[in-house]
Symmetry: none
Subunit: 239 residues, 2 copies
DNA sequence: TCTGAAATGTAAAATAAATGTCATTATTAG
DNA sequence: CTAATAATGACATTTATTTTACATTTCAGA
């Protein structure tokens, strides 16, 4: 299975949403005011579990996360989120004692951290920096269509910013189709180009892989829009 | 199993010619049969000198070349040909010992190679791939007439900018007619070129396809302007 | 210019072929 | 060895092609 990493969520120049995960009421309030006064939308959650739910529902562009939480540790939230949305910036909020080791944070996948007590200005600066970093990072080498981006170098596919797991064969077939957008590709061509010369599997194999690609990427796999079949010949990808 | 004899060969509409340069009689025969069974025309030569002559005379679209030849080494043939026709694909056939170094082959200008003993399927695949690489038509290249555009790579027909759905056979017949504009095409010719050798349907089949083409593309299908009948012979496309 | 045989047009029915899909089996990587 | 991936086979479904049957047109020769 191909591993994760990420691609920039296109910056919504209108309004960024920040998910704050913090159990201390006083800090909650302070953070909410801080970010809102700077034009961010803020969603506050008190524990890890509800944070993950809120996260899925509201699709924030960054997360400010207290490492100390009830019900589910900040670490788990961090890991969970990063797995699915590798590029989404996470800024950790922690007491000095929590993080003696920066390495731990990197392992968690956090982008930056601020130790309590923190200066509002500093936190704001770091969130902004993290947002900037991800929006700017590597635009190249990725084909995009619909809500999907296919990063050839990383062998990564994202749908609505979420990582879609693909096997190597699936990815290569996808890649070839995408790189030859609009052109009708015969099964023979797919077989020689994607599968290589040595092993020639049966024609059904190609269909099965197309099936998988459709299931993973088409909104309605039964009525494929992007991965079209060209009856009597093969397939064709259209943006 | 992918037995291409069952499938219509979308890539080989206009017969490709392969020049095989090989001194071993047994291999000669095998190769000739292999390629002919897949719809290629084959010219076989046993040595480098006559190969070059045959090459000039018959203008093949690819060369399958044994590196070990009498009178003139395959290397020289390769170099010579590549000098004059840099884009013409050359697939080298060699005993394993001949090729300890792939670099040498690249220097020779070969496009690909297969080591003996080789699998017919593999050789075929490599030849096809090489042909495709050099032939690959640009997406967007289209023949136009009246308000109609025929895009070969996309296998797409537009009439007044609107997509006209066509089946593979219809499209291939259309393509052949358009590519042979002004010329009278007999039913037999259509059958061999579009339908292929294997299956010879009879009488009304061709007519029915022309009918469909007319219905889809002629302004007044009953009075065809572009897809004319040549009574007693066949059809003719005029722009 | 008639007339009938041959050729072609045409739509619909019959047949064939290609594709989607899933369950199963093989293969491969870890 | 196990889990993940890939390939195969079987089957239902969809789509395309061929055939059939008959209508219409063409054209040569009277």
């Amino acid at each position: 299975m191909l591993s994760s990493s990420l691609q920039p969520l296109p910056e919504t120049n209108s309004m960024e949403k920040i998910l704050v995960v913090e159990d201390d009421r006083a800090v909650q309030k302070a953070l909410k005011r801080l970010f809102e006064s700077e034009g961010f939308m803020v969603d506050v959650q008190a524990d890890g579990k509800s944070a993950l739910e809120a996260f899925r529902a509201s699709a924030p562009s960054a997360i400010v996360l207290d490492l100390r939480l009830p019900s589910m540790s900040g670490r788990d939230v961090c890991r969970e989120v990063k797995q699915q949305f590798p590029t989404l910036p996470i800024i950790i909020l922690s007491a000095t004692t929590d993080v003696t080791d920066k390495v731990l944070l990197l392992e968690l996948g956090a982008d930056d951290y601020v130790t309590k007590p923190f200066s509002p200005r500093e936190l704001l600066a770091r969130v902004r920096a993290a947002l900037r970093r991800t929006t700017r990072s590597e635009v190249g080498e990725a084909a995009t269509f619909d809500g999907i981006s296919v990063n050839f170098a990383k062998m990564e596919v994202l749908r609505e910013g979420r990582l879609i797991e693909m096997t190597a064969r699936e990815f290569n077939a996808l890649k070839f189709l995408v790189q030859n957008a609009e052109r009708v590709i015969s099964r023979d061509e797919l077989l020689t180009e994607v599968w290589g010369y040595q092993n020639y599997p049966s024609t059904r194999t190609v269909d099965n892989h197309i099936l998988k690609i459709r299931q993973k990427l088409e909104k309605d796999p039964a009525n494929p829009v992007h991965f079209r079949t060209v009856h009597g010949v093969g397939y064709k990808f259209v943006r």
